[in-house]
Structure formats: structure tokens, C-alpha cells
């Protein structure tokens, strides 16, 4: 057991950091509830870092690290499906890749910008390329861009089955775990910076024990979610369920505390807090949510 990053992983993550640093300008809040950082998304794709999980030298754990780092930023890009599912389960699919679970008529995050959609159901997994006219806009409530498919049955009919649907499911769970832990970490860092600077009652908010303990508790949950996702990267589907369920389960308490401590500033769209918390709030229910993953985990652990 060795839980440090390999030299290759560290080098790849410094590439990711450099891309994020160069692209930091366009992340400024624009007063919109949902957003998409198209230039950053394109830069990540062009760099090749999103393909790392498909190479033996890197593998899915590297994909998890990339997703967590990118999701710590307030920029909304399609990284989880592209860095974790696509390289191993549907490498021929173009990206950005939207993931549509269950009812194909549902609104789905990233569909407005996606060039392909991955259908996940109890029956299996398949993907379908998309053209701009294939989607109908919906109001983006959860920070992500969202759309519905105009003709979901037609898309399903022309979809290509994934060779290993069980792998696609496992990686989709892993993607949820990685993305959720990443956005929660980013939100926490933003709030920690805020309460360290913001003074009320003559001293920084962050000196009050009531805030310190709750933020420390949030940090514990997020750290556990991060490491469960990393452990699940090379693990079983049960480990992926556990990682996804734990991260989604953490969202309620963490998102609540982050908003409480950001106060009224976090209610405005002039501050990016919603870029983390409203991604996390949608991720809570992804692929069935924590309750389903915990039930499935228990059923598999104790058949």
C-alpha cells in the first residue's frame, strides 16, 4: 500500500494546475444561475489529461485526481464523465459527454454542450452522438447547463451499446464520487477563505468555535469522500457504490454549512458559492442517490 501520488500522476496534475491557472479569468460570476466554461473545457480536452485513465501508467485513480482538482474550481466543465467513463467504457464517443440515467425524457446536465450522451439503465449502457438540434433548452437551476433530448427514443435507437455495461456503471458511480468530493472541497476552500477574512463582532468569523467545529466536520466528511473515491478507482462496484453514496450523503450537511457561513453573500449570483453548492445539490440524486447506493452496497455485502 502506497498512497502517495506517483511521479507521473504528480506531473499530470501539475499540467492540470497550469491549465486551470491560465484559464482563471473567465470564471468570474456572470449573474447567471448556470454556466459552462467552454474555453477551459476545450483546453482540458486538447491537453490530453482527460484521457489519462485509459493508459496503464495512470488508470482510473489518476482520473479521479484530475476530476477532483478541476471540480475544486468554480468553473463548470464536463470533466467527470470524460476523465473516468469515456476513456475506458466508450472511448469512441465524442465529448463533452452527458450521462442520462433512467428515463431518457428527463432534463440532463451538460446536454446543451455535449457531443454525445451516455444512456445508463438497469438494462445496460449505450452512447449516442448528438447534433445541436437534438436538444431542447430548459432553465438551468443547478449551476450546470441542462437540456432535454428532443427525440429520446430516436437517440436510443441509434445508440451504440457499451462493450462492458457493468464497467460503465462502475465508472459512472466513481465519476459521481469524484465530482461530488471535488465540488465540496472547492466550496469548503472558498468558505474557509471568506471566514478567515470577514470580520464581525471585531474579529474574523473563522475564530468562532461554532464555525470552526462545523467546518472541521465538513472537512472530515470531504476528506473521507475524497479517499473513498480514490480507493474505489481500482476497486469493485461495491466500493464505487460506497464512494458515491458517502459523497452524496455528505452534501446535505456540507452544503448547508457552506451557505450558512457565507451568509447573504452566498445568496447572490455575484459570488461563485452556488457554482459548488448547486452542483453538489444536483449530484446528490445522481444515479439514484445515496439511499440507493447504500441499499445496493448492503445487499451485495450481505447477500
Amino acid at each position: 500500500m502506497l498512497l502517495d501520488q506517483t511521479e507521473d500522476q504528480a506531473a499530470l496534475l501539475s499540467t492540470v494546475s497550469a491549465i486551470l491557472a491560465r484559464a482563471s479569468g473567465p470564471w468570474a460570476p456572470d449573474g447567471e444561475r448556470s454556466s459552462f466554461a467552454a474555453e477551459l473545457d476545450a483546453a482540458l480536452e486538447a491537453s490530453g489529461v482527460l484521457d489519462a485513465a485509459g493508459f496503464d501508467a495512470f488508470g482510473p485513480a489518476t482520473g479521479v485526481l484530475v476530476v477532483q482538482d478541476v471540480c475544486r474550481t468554480p468553473a463548470v466543465v464536463e470533466v467527470a464523465a470524460s476523465a473516468l467513463i469515456r476513456p475506458l467504457a466508450c472511448p469512441d464517443a465524442p465529448r463533452p459527454l452527458a450521462v442520462l440515467h433512467g428515463d431518457a425524457t428527463r432534463a440532463c446536465r451538460f446536454l446543451p454542450v455535449a457531443r454525445a450522451v451516455l444512456f445508463l439503465s438497469e438494462a445496460g449502457a449505450s452512447w449516442c452522438p448528438l447534433e445541436p438540434g437534438d436538444v431542447i433548452p430548459v432553465e438551468g437551476y443547478f449551476a450546470y447547463p441542462a437540456c432535454r433530448l428532443r427525440a429520446p427514443q430516436a437517440c436510443l435507437a441509434r445508440a451504440t451499446p457499451c462493450a462492458d455495461p457493468a464497467l460503465a456503471w462502475r465508472l459512472a458511480l466513481l465519476a459521481v464520487a469524484a465530482e461530488t468530493s471535488g465540488v465540496l472541497q472547492g466550496g469548503l476552500e472558498s468558505v474557509v477563505a471568506h471566514v478567515s477574512d470577514r470580520r464581525q463582532f471585531g474579529r474574523p468569523l473563522g475564530t468562532f468555535q461554532a464555525l470552526q467545529h462545523r467546518l472541521a466536520a465538513c472537512s472530515t466528511k470531504i476528506a473521507a469522500a475524497r479517499w473513498l473515491a480514490l480507493k474505489a478507482a481500482a476497486g469493485t462496484v461495491s466500493e464505487a457504490r460506497m464512494a458515491a453514496g458517502y459523497a452524496q450523503d455528505a452534501v446535505e450537511a456540507v452544503a448547508y454549512d457552506l451557505h450558512q457561513f457565507m451568509g447573504a453573500m452566498g445568496l447572490t449570483l455575484e459570488h461563485p458559492l452556488h457554482r459548488w453548492t448547486y452542483r453538489a445539490k444536483l449530484l446528490r440524486s445522481d444515479l439514484g442517490g445515496a439511499a440507493r447506493h447504500y441499499r445496493d452496497l448492503a445487499a451485495a455485502e450481505w447477500p
Partner: protein, 380 residues
């Protein structure tokens, strides 16, 4: 980044598991129901640890010249995981092998090592730690027990409280103050519990009768050679000794074992078909595994020679949360099992879960450390 066990680690775990299967007696469940701090389990540890020692499994992580195998940091934790999962048959002697022995080996005089270490490595030494006092619980640096110079020795006066194992202990790892305030002026003394002037009074408790005690020191005379390390400079030694305690007890392993036993009961009575029961079982299991992976993170840092940091405190919070998740699962779905004590390790698990967020540094202390030393929040 690799979460795989080495072949050596796997072989070591198998050796420990085989030993437990072979050496735990048929009435182990009846002994373990009293809990690791009980009189019954403390007495049991004397025979059990002697067998562990004979098998080379009591202090495998210690240097060979002191009775160990020179095993890895990971082997030390594998040993702790399997022992705790079985209900900790080493009783109080886990302290000897985790931190009392290593602290004596590192800071003790040759005479102290010669006097105390052989009994520890033979598995026949019961120690208690004389740390907490009525006015010094979480704030250990406020301790008041005095050690006054008297010729070639010291006179100890004061009292300790909530002291585990004191009723049967041979020796005490005692903190007392010779001078100064707060962290300055504190000394460690290694002394026999049979020294005249020591009185032990058991305190009835929720964590099992016979576990907690008051210990009174009235004009207890000890030689100067009983001091471990330099006079008044014990705080750094305590920090060294307890760095391991933050994650040294693999409570999550017992929690996971108790949870599995509860699930078997729920399957037998048909409750397992309930979605809510399975949801909560999965949630409790995830809490245990969250604690486990964070502990592994800390162990990995130690194995790589990195200095201790606030991740130990963060991990302690997760370990306590896992204990509580499993304990609450039992209360919600199997309250009757407490009445007839019919599920192996359920009662001792529940009793220890109450203490999980208090012993070895309260959760709130750990949260404060995480806030300032991990999140870098400003200090008040």
C-alpha cells in the same frame, strides 16, 4: 498510488487471523462481553498475550534486539485491526505495545529498559496511564499532581481520575509536575502501583464495570530513577507517545464486525427485506470504511517517515463517527439484543462507542485542531 496489500502484509494478516482462530477459547464471547477494560478481559490478557509473545505476534513491529521482528508500520496496524475486530483480547496490553513500550525504549535509561521492557515483551505487564485529573481532562497541561524533590527521590501528591485498568495494573505511567505551569515543568514517572500511599477506587461506569478508577497519591515516595526523560520536559515525550493513540485503536474494525453480526440477526428475523434497514446498514458500513481509509492515509504517511500532522485529528473524528453510526444502527433496529446480550460484541461495542469521542482526546478537541492546523482558520 496503490491500495493493494503486499504479499508480506497479506501473509502477516493471515498469520494473525490464524492465531486468533486457534487461540481464542470457546468462551471468548462470554469474556469479551465485559469489554476490553474489564477485570475479566484484563486477566484474560495475561495468558493470551504470553501466547502472542511466544508466537512472535505481541510486538512484531519492535526492533529485533528488543523482542520484535523489525516489522513494518503496516504490520503494526494490521495487528491492531485484527485484534480490535476480535474484541481486543490484548486488553490493556495494547497500550504497552503501541506506545508505553516504544516510549520507554526511546527515552528510557538502560536500567528502565531492562526493568520494564522484558515483562512487556513477555505479555505479562499491566500498565495504567496516570494522565487525566479532576481539573485536567481535555486540558491535560493544567494537571496539578505534584512531584516534590526529597533527597534522592520525589514525593508525589495528587489524584488521577477516569484511569483505565488501574485496579489490576502493576505499573503506572504517571504525569506529575515538579515546577512551572502549563506544558513546562511536567515529568513522567514510571512507578509500581504497589508503592505505599497509592489508593485506587473503582468508579461505576457506562463503559463496563471495573474499567474506570480514581487513583490517589498521598506522600508517595519514589526514587529519582523513576523519572523518564528530562525533568520538566515531558510534554514533547507525551506528544510522541500519544501521536500513535490518535489512530492507534482500530475501532472501525470492531464496528464493522459488530455491524455484520447485527445484519445476520436481521436477515434471520426477516427485517433485512426492509429497504430502510439495508439503507442504514450500507450507510453504517460506509462510515466504517471512511474511517478505515483515513486511518490508512495516516499510516501511509507514518510508513513514509512523514511527521505527524492534523490529519490524525481529522481521522479521529471519522473513527468516532463510524462508532456512532453502528451504535445507532443497533439502537434503531435491534434494541432487544441489548436485553438478552445475544449478539457477539454488540454490548462491548456500544459501551466503547459512548467513549469513542471522549477517550484519547475528545472529538471537539480534534475538531479544533483540524480547524486551526488543517484548515488554517485563524486562532481566536
Amino acid at each position: 498510488m496503490n491500495f493493494e496489500w503486499t504479499e508480506r502484509d497479506k501473509a502477516f494478516r493471515a498469520e494473525v487471523v490464524d492465531f486468533l482462530a486457534r487461540e481464542l477459547p470457546p468462551d471468548w464471547a462470554a469474556i469479551a462481553r465485559h469489554g476490553p477494560g474489564s477485570k475479566e478481559q484484563t486477566e484474560f490478557s495475561l495468558g493470551f498475550c504470553a501466547k502472542l509473545a511466544a508466537a512472535g505476534l505481541l510486538v512484531p513491529h519492535w526492533p529485533q534486539e528488543h523482542g520484535g521482528r523489525g516489522g513494518s508500520v503496516w504490520e503494526h496496524f494490521i495487528l491492531g485491526e485484527e485484534m480490535w475486530a476480535a474484541g481486543e483480547p490484548r486488553g490493556p496490553q495494547y497500550m504497552n505495545v503501541n506506545w508505553i513500550g516504544p516510549t520507554i525504549l526511546r527515552f528510557g535509561t538502560p536500567e528502565q529498559r531492562e526493568r520494564y521492557v522484558p515483562d512487556i515483551t513477555a505479555g505479562c505487564a499491566i500498565w495504567c496511564q496516570g494522565f487525566s485529573e479532576p481539573s485536567a481532562g481535555s486540558d491535560l497541561a493544567s494537571l496539578r499532581t505534584r512531584a516534590e524533590r526529597d533527597g534522592d527521590g520525589f514525593i508525589i501528591n495528587g489524584s488521577k481520575v477516569w484511569t483505565s485498568y488501574a485496579g489490576l495494573a502493576d505499573h503506572c505511567f504517571l504525569l506529575a509536575r515538579t515546577s512551572g505551569q502549563r506544558k513546562d515543568g511536567i515529568c513522567i514517572f514510571l512507578l509500581s502501583m504497589a508503592t505505599p500511599g497509592i489508593t485506587v477506587r473503582p468508579i461505576p461506569s457506562l463503559v463496563g464495570n471495573g474499567d474506570l478508577h480514581e487513583v490517589f497519591f498521598q506522600d508517595v515516595r519514589i526514587p529519582a530513577s523513576a523519572m523518564l526523560g528530562e525533568e520538566g520536559k515531558a510534554w514533547s515525550l507525551i506528544t510522541y507517545a500519544l501521536a500513535n493513540e490518535r489512530v492507534g485503536i482500530a475501532r472501525y474494525a470492531l464496528s464493522a464486525r459488530a455491524l455484520a453480526a447485527m445484519v445476520e440477526r436481521l436477515k434471520a428475523d426477516g427485517s433485512w427485506r426492509d429497504d430502510i434497514v439495508r439503507h442504514r446498514a450500507g450507510q453504517a458500513l460506509a462510515a466504517c470504511e471512511a474511517a478505515r481509509v483515513l486511518v490508512y492515509r495516516v499510516v501511509d504517511q507514518r510508513a513514509r517517515g512523514l511527521p505527524p500532522n492534523a490529519e490524525s485529528s481529522l481521522t479521529r473524528v471519522a473513527v468516532a463517527a463510524a462508532d456512532h453510526a453502528v451504535a445507532n444502527f443497533a439502537l434503531d433496529f435491534l434494541p432487544d439484543a441489548f436485553a438478552d446480550d445475544s449478539i457477539h460484541l454488540l454490548k462491548p461495542h456500544h459501551e466503547r462507542a459512548i467513549a469513542a469521542g471522549i477517550a484519547s482526546g475528545a472529538t471537539e478537541i480534534q475538531l479544533g485542531i483540524v480547524a486551526t492546523d488543517h484548515l488554517d482558520l485563524p486562532r481566536s
